[in-house]
Assembly symmetry: C2
Homo-oligomer: 405 residues x 2
């Protein structure tokens, strides 16, 4: 008699964005004809750039002859892409990461969700609060989080690192030592970023306590300030303490193309001497069959001179939205954070409204969709996320409507 | 102090094909200039067909304008593809599967490896022996298989269903009842297939015992005989007892394109009333971000009239290889199975050689690479797998060399 994974039954509600989408559809059904502007989910709106389109066409074209045809890709990724990543994302920033420490995948969400699997089931995780829901949910599914307390909105076995205006959204070291520490910087959802000194503090802490940091740098391309590190490997000792997850979704607009990668340094090992590299390699080889050749050629094209120029233009486009939202909201008297090194604006809800109350107000009075901060964790309550991924005109119109609200 | 998933440390050796590739590379290095023919790994060699190439180009082209651009795909797949699958792979065979019971993914290997995750960690699995290594390894990683016995080559907590020439490669019902039963038909590696009556026996058994069948039908397109079911849902009661995994790799040559799907019927539930559909949906939504739009358009094109004609031609090409190998080996006096409803030929090694001895002999004396049967499980010992995925000329040359050996 088969049984199910009981840990799945502990999961809270549905995935946040599914819940939002449900509410929006309900509102649309009740109010036909309203033009809703979404600054909600972090999906891009700019099309793929010419260099990427050309690379995709070329790769497709090569698949029509027996000579050019590519079957199964190498499990860990094609060398041409892994080398380009090592050179452009690491060596360029002085990080000594080798191409075979890079594991190419179908995206950062899969990697973020799957990485916990190589750790012991009794490991204690720490997450920033608020946080990208996948870190928590994937650990709930693995039975690592204990029981959920409805009154606090917290899991008994998770160490929460509150990130609020009071601490400048940079969490202090915890009193109890976690085994696995998730850090996302530039941060989703707060739109803030750790500077070099703050991140070094965490790397040192991890090395001293034999903790491991899962560093999500999916928004690295949005960094504008000099003292914000682009990779955790810019910190001393990080190769002994951290795994880094990256994406092509937000820089090159690959949300629908699907390509990402994870760096597991060969030096990174548990206190009893087991190398995480070997475990992640085994997982990749057993439960994944390589990212598509076509996609890997497109990722490679992103690193060309023209490709880099194009993605900088796209990032600048979105960051102009971020500026518009930030400055617009400040003028309206909102308390606003983020949007300097990240495509997210994090605002304090006015009049002590809950995040969901503000969500409803924005949806009904301005027909604008954003994301309730409480959906990212208890310390996100009374905050709200807007994204800079919209079109300029939509963003301006959304601000106009919010101003009139 | 973090620790690793100890279950990973129980895994045996490296993934079978990595081991073979290591041995081949070693031989090549020692014997430069030898032309090696691989009838080993099950990768296709025919290029993508014109209809698929066109669909890929069109989908790529549509991504260069804001209007045509597609960001995140629906987690479970685009409706256009799910509907085409339901109509062509199920309704056409009289199987009452709805399009929203189909979960589109990046391939059957990922799904085969991940599906175990929705089941209780104390569930007992049964596998055919020999078997595709991913079923076993993914369960080892989850701690479901007990300890490995070097002398028997078996895991203490797995129920093995021997498939040998003695039982016509169709396993009998086990004496102890498993919770989860993996069946692959047409079978990898034996190249044999269950007929309707044999499969119905397993569906009835699963329904009577509240077991669940994970049915891997990746080789469905190779079926030539009338009484072999194309889907397990052709059997009475299968919607209450089985999950089916499918692939575009072997019919349409998508090994490097990456696209597959899994059917989880809404009716399928555990004895205590939990629907597997809900759990798999949650996993898909949490740890996966949808298959790429471009790939899904290509998959859709496979179901067009022209697309179907082209894949039938490709399958016929490979099956001509299967015929050549089968008939060639029989003439040489080998005991040969499979190759009628599957692209695999399963031969008994001559002179009671072990599978690896025959591998070495074939590599050294014929410069032909195949796959040792024992790599698929203890009952695969003294068997050997050759695949029909090569080019005609290579296949003929390989046979000529084996004949001279």
């Amino acid at each position: 008699m088969f049984t199910v994974n009981k840990d799945y039954l502990s999961l809270r509600g549905s995935y946040l964005f599914a819940e939002i989408s449900g509410k929006v559809n309900e509102y649309k059904a009740e109010n036909p004809g309203r033009e809703i502007i979404s600054l909600g989910i972090g999906d891009v709106t700019r099309p793929l750039t010419p260099t990427v389109i050309n690379a995709l066409h070329e790769a497709v074209e090569s698949q029509k002859t027996p000579e050019g045809f590519k079957g199964y890709a190498p499990d860990l990724g094609y060398d041409f892409l892994r080398k380009a990543i090592a050179e452009n994302d690491y060596l360029r920033y002085g990080c000594d990461i080798e191409s075979d420490e890079i594991f190419v995948s179908d995206g950062a969400k899969s990697d973020s969700g799957n990485i916990q699997e190589i750790f012991g089931r009794d490991n204690i995780i720490a997450v920033c609060d608020p946080v990208y829901p996948v870190y928590v949910d994937s650990n709930v599914m693995a039975g690592r989080t204990g029981s959920f307390d409805e009154s606090t909105g917290k899991w008994s076995d998770i160490i929460y690192l509150p990130c609020t205006a009071e601490n400048g959204f940079s969490p202090g070291l915890p009193s109890k030592t976690p085994d696995i520490i998730y850090i996302c910087s530039p941060n989703n959802p707060t739109g803030t970023a750790m500077n070099r000194e703050e991140l070094q503090k965490w790397v040192d802490y991890a090395n001293e306590n034999h903790s491991v940091i899962i560093y999500d740098a999916a928004y690295e391309a949005y960094i504008t300030e000099k003292d914000i590190p682009h990779s955790i490997y810019e910190c001393r000792g990080a190769k002994n303490a951290a795994i880094e997850i990256r994406s092509f979704s937000k820089n090159a607009g690959f949300t629908g193309v699907r390509l990402g990668f994870t760096v597991v340094p060969k030096a990174l090992k548990s206190a009893d001497g087991i190398y995480l590299y070997d475990l992640w390699k085994r997982r990749h080889g057993t439960k994944f069959n390589g990212a598509p050749y076509i996609q890997q050629r497109a990722g490679y094209a992103v690193y060309s001179k023209e490709g880099q120029k194009e993605i900088r233009e796209n990032v600048a486009y979105y960051m102009e939205n971020a500026r518009l939202i930030r400055e617009g909201l400040v003028k309206m008297g909102y308390e606003v954070y983020g949007g300097i090194n990240a495509p997210y604006i994090w605002l304090k809800t006015p009049d002590a409204m809950t995040s969901w109350e503000f969500f409803e107000k924005l949806l009904k009075n301005a027909n604008v969709v954003g994301t309730p901060g409480s959906g990212f964790g208890p310390s996100g309550e009374h905050y709200f996320r807007l994204t800079a991924f919209g079109k300029h005109d939509d963003t301006k119109e959304a601000l106009r409507r919010i101003g009139k609200m």
